[in-house]
Every structure is written in structure tokens, then in C-alpha cells.
Symmetry: C2
Subunit: 139 residues, 2 copies
């Protein structure tokens, strides 16, 4: 038995790639356009870890996507949580739970999927502007 | 950057362990009881792949868990999709999408989380009782 992927549905594929690829830093591993089914699948993974993918399903015919409490989040470890949050901020992503503790942050995808970032190894020393940054919304 | 886990919330931890551990075949990698926060975390992973976990969050104070369309499913490859579905059935799990094609099946956790099973490598030859088993509900 082997873990393959977590699938989330996305409303806007371009906006989602800006979030998951450009802002979060995952790499696109493969993409399938399926005109017969009117959907596109894009798979992304952390560099050097292609076997643990996130699958973005983009249905060409719009449908409303709502979240739910049963699904929580997808979590990634990062080498520098401040650099990761800076890149997310630079892409216009709200840092819902800033890494005030140098250890943990939460953001949301354009469709509201909660993504947890955890500092690899030991927490970084607390640093501004994160230390005094308040929480925004829920995650 | 490294994938860590997908988190889902569970209403009944025992029922969830029967599903994820006993019926699906994942192994518990670690468990944290946090009385101060009134929650329990249980992490499971496929054997030999402890770095790709699913995290079950059980809040001791009940709250309603609903699904949502934005989250899709968690997917695992299995060595024998018929054996996997037989074990799930033996544990009372409905096979929502039976592996009629010897390749793919979907089931749901007690909280409605969709789990996809994919046959590793080539599809198995179509076989009863799966070939003539209808879909049940959605997944």
C-alpha cells in the first residue's frame, strides 16, 4: 500500500497554480487535459518528493465549491518558514496564522483549502514582522 | 519542502480506526492525547512509507462535520485491489465505486471522507463479484 495524492477541486486553474506553484513553491509533476470529460488534472509535489502529490481537479463547467469541517488541511515542512511566508505574501496570499513562534503558519488556497507550513527541525528565533502580526480569519 | 500529512477530523475515533487501520490497512505511526486542548491526534501511514501520513483529529467535544466539494479524496495504491475491497467489505464498508475494471475503487470513511484505491501497476483481470456490482451513492 502506498500513499499517492490528496485531491482538491479548483475553480480557477491559473489562480490555483499561482498559489500552489508560484507562492507555495510546489512543482508541477504532470498535467492531463481531458476534453471528453471536460476537466483538467494538474499534479504538484515538493521538489525531490514526486511520490506525494496534490491533485488539482479543474472541472471546465463551473460548480460551487464549499469547504467542510471534515477535511482539515494539507501540511508541508519548509526549510525557512519566514522565507516561505514572505513569498506567499508577495503573491498576495493572506497569512491567516503568521509564524509568530518561528514554527507554524497557515494559509488558504484560492478555494479555501487550508495549508499548514511547519518549520523543518528546530523553530526559528522569533522575528518581526511576524512576531507582532495578528491572526486573520480562520484556517 | 516536504509533504507531511493530510488532516481530517473524525467524530468517532474507534470507528475511524476500524476504517483507516483495520479495514483500509494503514498503520498507526503515533498518537497524541492532549487533555489541555481536549483533542486526540492519531497519525497513520502505509507500511514502509511513514513520511506520508494521514492525521485524524478527534475533538472530544462533539461538533458537526460536513463535507464540501472543494476537498476531493485521499488516494492510495494497493497491491491487490480485490483483496483490499474484500477486507473493506468484511468490515462493513460500502464499496461506493466497485473495482469493475480491476483498477479503481472508492469508499468513504465514517465521516464521509472519500478514499480512492488504485491497483498498483497493471489492472487486474475483471472478476466477479466486482464486475457486476453497481455503484452505490457518490464518492
Amino acid at each position: 500500500m502506498k500513499y499517492l495524492h490528496t485531491m482538491v477541486r479548483v475553480t480557477d486553474l491559473d489562480a490555483s497554480l499561482r498559489f500552489y506553484r508560484d507562492a507555495l513553491g510546489l512543482e508541477v509533476t504532470r498535467q492531463h487535459n481531458v476534453p471528453a470529460g471536460r476537466f483538467t488534472l494538474v499534479y504538484l509535489a515538493a521538489q525531490g518528493q514526486p511520490e506525494a502529490e496534490i491533485e488539482l481537479t479543474h472541472n471546465w463547467d463551473p460548480e460551487p465549491y464549499t469547504g467542510g469541517r471534515s477535511f482539515g488541511h494539507v501540511a508541508y515542512a519548509v526549510d525557512d518558514i519566514y522565507a516561505a511566508c514572505e513569498r506567499l505574501s508577495a503573491h498576495g496570499v493572506v497569512i491567516n496564522r503568521p509564524p509568530r513562534d518561528g514554527r507554524m503558519a497557515f494559509v488558504r488556497s484560492p478555494d479555501g483549502i487550508s495549508v499548514e507550513l511547519l518549520q523543518s527541525g528546530r523553530a526559528l528565533a522569533p522575528a518581526e514582522p511576524w512576531t507582532s502580526m495578528p491572526n486573520v480569519g480562520t484556517w
